[in-house]
Structures are given as structure tokens and as C-alpha cells.
Amino acid sequence: MEQQASAWALVLSGDPALYAIVGLSLGVSLGATLLAALLGAPLGALIALSRFPGRQAVVVMLNALMGLPPVVVGLAVYLLLSRSGPLGEWGLLFTPSAMVVTQTILVLPIIAALSRQTIEDLWQEYREELAAMGVGPVRRIRTLLWDARFSLVTALLAGFGRAAAEVGSIIIVGGNIEGYTRTMTTTIALETSKGNLPLAMGLGMILLCIVLAVNVAAWAVKQVGARFEQ
């Protein structure tokens, strides 16, 4: 119980450094999830509605990419953003932006793959009706994304869960710089390496609570959406 006590003590102490870390964690993970959703959901919808040779291969590939190893993505982004890499001039390495980039890459396939499934199911339902209404291809995708929005929350949650729990890629491209790129997970890794296991465990509890809170919020949103399901 000592771990929990120290976790609560940390929260109650109102340590601004802790809040900065929590804030950065949320900012990076939510930012990455949002970006990945803006790109991934339309991509998933596009694949759901398209018929082209090799489509099955693309679907399998997308599903496989859900299991991208964070360390590999982190390394690839590191090499891209490094000053001697192709995008080095942007000066993004070891910044929160770099962390958003790498997590977006990790989350994108999850959101795209889960959106594709959701949209494809809804498309089966809507297909004839939209055809009879004479709805064009662009509006079709917009309609499906909008009407599936409550179901897509699940895809966003899966993506956010991946991002919030992830440490392997952000520690490589962020550098775990105190007060700048230090997040919940990299702090937990650091405190573990300092042998401060109670603090690491306590931070883990806080992270768990935050993820739980986000899930509760999403659940509430889905409850609203359930009124629109058959």
C-alpha cells in the first residue's frame, strides 16, 4: 500500500513538475491520436469503399502495421529528423513535435484498420440507400465517417491507449529531457532506472487513472451515440 500512498501524496502535493509531465503526456498522446484520426479514419473509409486489385493485401498489411514495434518507428523517425538526416533542417529532433510524429505513425494504422472495419460494416447497411439518393463518392465517405463517429470512438481509444502507454519510440526521438520532453512513461522508466520503484509504481498508478478517465469520457460519448444505433 506504500506505493499507492506515495502516488496520492504526489498528486495531492500539487507538484508543478508532475503536472507538467502529465500535461505533456496527454498533449503528445492526444495530439498524435487526433492527427492519426484525421489521416487514418478517411484512409480507412477510402479502403472500405474502394475495390482495386491487391486490396486484400493492403488490408492485411494495414492490420499487420497495428503491431509496428515502437522502437523501430522511433529509430526510423530519429534517422529522418536527425540533423544529418533528410529532414534535419526542421530541427525537430528531441522536441515534443518529434514525439507526436512518431506516435502518430504508431497510432495511424490502428485507427485506419479499425475504421476500415467499422466503415465497411456501415457501408453494407447504407450502400443501396445512398445509391438511390444519388450520393457522390466524396459525400459518401463524409457521410459514413460522420454517421459512424460514435463507433469510431473505439478506434480512437485503441489508438490513444497505444500512445499513452508507449515509451520505446518517444524516448528515442524525445530524449527524455527534463521539463521539455519528459512524459509519464519516460519518467517511469527513468525512476525505475534510479531504483526508485515506489515512485515509478506511483506514477504508473496515476497514468492508469488518467487512461481510465479518458476511457470513461469516451464511454459517456458512446452512450450518447448508442441512441442512434439500431
Partner: protein, 238 residues
């Protein structure tokens, strides 16, 4: 009402799907005026005929032409399915969506949505999620969506199938009201009584061919073919 796209003329229409012939040599004139009601046993091609006439389904042979003086291209039409899909939005948003799709001017949209909902008797349910409506209410909302396209011809596929008498009555009254506004209604039904109540012309389909067609009183009261006599007298027709 601009009626230059009527009548709809089907000339020797064949439709086959995957090698199976669904419609064979169908020639019909769907004239402006009272509803044309398609009857016939299951699988006789009623739904396919609706879709072919509307232009949703390509013909294998023959032609569908709209109007007698123009180039025959289809006019504005709308189709209501037997089990219409409700968009996962409110009742009013379903109508707004249909108005947007048909390019209805935005500033007039709210007013038009209200009119359509009143017409189909759903004004009180405007904010309810559409997927929560009853079967009859769904049919009426689908009619409102269809009317949002301001169609010259409205195609209804078994609009009263599996509805209770009260809901059926509401739909039939709506069909009469729509027809009275100059919209050509083409619908299918299993219910000969309904055909008698609503139709101007009746078309009896059998195995993809027109078995008998004419004004409702003539076809139902004095059928000329053996098939029609048996079907109308309530015998099973295979």
C-alpha cells in the same frame, strides 16, 4: 409541376443478372396521373422493374425513356425501399441530408424540412434518432427524404408490407396526397385491396413478363388472361 419527363416509356426491356433473366420484353407506359401499382407473385420482377424504370439498374436490352419530346434522359426520381435504411441521425437531420444531397438551397432548408415532416406526420418526432422509429414511421420518413429530391416520379417498393392497418392507412393517405400534388407514384404491393384503393393503372407481372395491364377496374374486375384470373381470384400462381 413540370411534367415534360413523363410518361416513362419502357420499350422491350430485358434485365438479366448473372445470366438469370429477371425481366423479359417488358413494354409499358407509366403515364402522369394516378399511381401505377405493380402486382404479381414473389420473384415476378416487380422490384427489378422499379429499379430499371428509375435508372438504378442497367437494362440488358431494350430502353427506358422519359418523356416523349426530349432526349429520353431520366427526370428527377426517388426510390423508397421496402425496408428503408435510417441514417444514424435525428429524423429532421435525415430530411436535411436528403435536401443537401439534392442541392436544395441552404437558406430555405429549415423551412422545407418542417414542411416535409408535417406532410408525413413526423413533425413531433423531429429530434428523435431515426433508427428508433417504428416500421410505419420509417416508411414515412423515407417518403419525406424521397420527396426532398422534389421527384417527378416516386417509386415505392412494398411500402406497406408488414405494417399494421393504422400504419398502412397513414401510408396510403400519404401516397394519395403526394399523387394529388402531381408526383407520379409507381409502387409495388402484395395487397390487391391496396391496389384497388390507390391505383390508376395496374400492371400484373409474372415470371418477368407483363401478364396483364390496364386501368385498375378492368384488370381486377375483368381480367383477360388465365394467369391474371387465377392470381386475382387468390389462387397460388407459380
Amino acid at each position: 409541376m413540370n411534367t415534360t419527363h413523363l410518361p416513362i416509356v419502357l420499350d422491350g426491356v430485358h434485365v438479366s443478372i448473372g445470366g438469370t433473366s429477371i425481366l423479359r420484353n417488358v413494354s409499358l407506359r407509366l403515364e402522369a396521373g394516378a399511381p401505377t401499382v405493380l402486382i404479381g407473385p414473389n420473384g415476378s420482377g416487380k422490384t427489378t422493374l422499379l429499379r430499371a424504370a428509375m435508372g438504378l439498374m442497367p437494362t440488358t436490352a431494350g430502353a427506358v425513356r422519359w418523356g416523349t419530346d426530349g432526349d429520353g434522359s431520366p427526370g428527377r426520381s426517388a426510390l423508397v425501399f421496402q425496408r428503408p435504411v435510417m441514417l444514424r441521425r435525428s429524423v429532421a437531420d435525415n430530411v436535411r441530408y436528403a435536401l443537401d444531397v439534392s442541392g436544395f438551397p441552404r437558406p430555405l432548408r429549415e423551412q422545407r424540412t418542417g414542411q416535409l415532416l408535417s406532410l408525413v406526420g413526423l413533425a413531433a418526432l423531429a429530434n428523435r434518432p431515426a433508427p428508433r422509429l417504428s416500421g410505419g414511421e420509417r416508411q414515412r420518413l423515407a417518403m419525406a427524404r424521397a420527396l426532398a429530391r422534389d421527384p417527378e416520379a416516386l417509386f415505392l417498393d412494398e411500402p406497406t408490407a408488414s405494417l399494421d392497418p393504422a400504419a398502412t392507412l397513414a401510408i396510403e393517405e400519404l401516397v394519395r396526397a403526394v399523387s394529388a400534388r402531381g408526383v407520379k407514384v409507381v409502387m409495388t404491393t402484395h395487397d390487391l385491396g391496396e391496389a384497388a384503393r390507390l391505383a390508376g393503372d395496374v400492371v400484373l407481372l409474372h415470371r418477368g413478363e407483363v401478364a396483364e395491364t390496364g386501368p385498375v377496374a378492368q384488370v381486377l374486375g375483368n381480367p383477360t388472361t388465365e394467369i391474371a384470373r387465377r392470381f386475382i381470384s387468390g389462387q397460388l400462381v407459380l
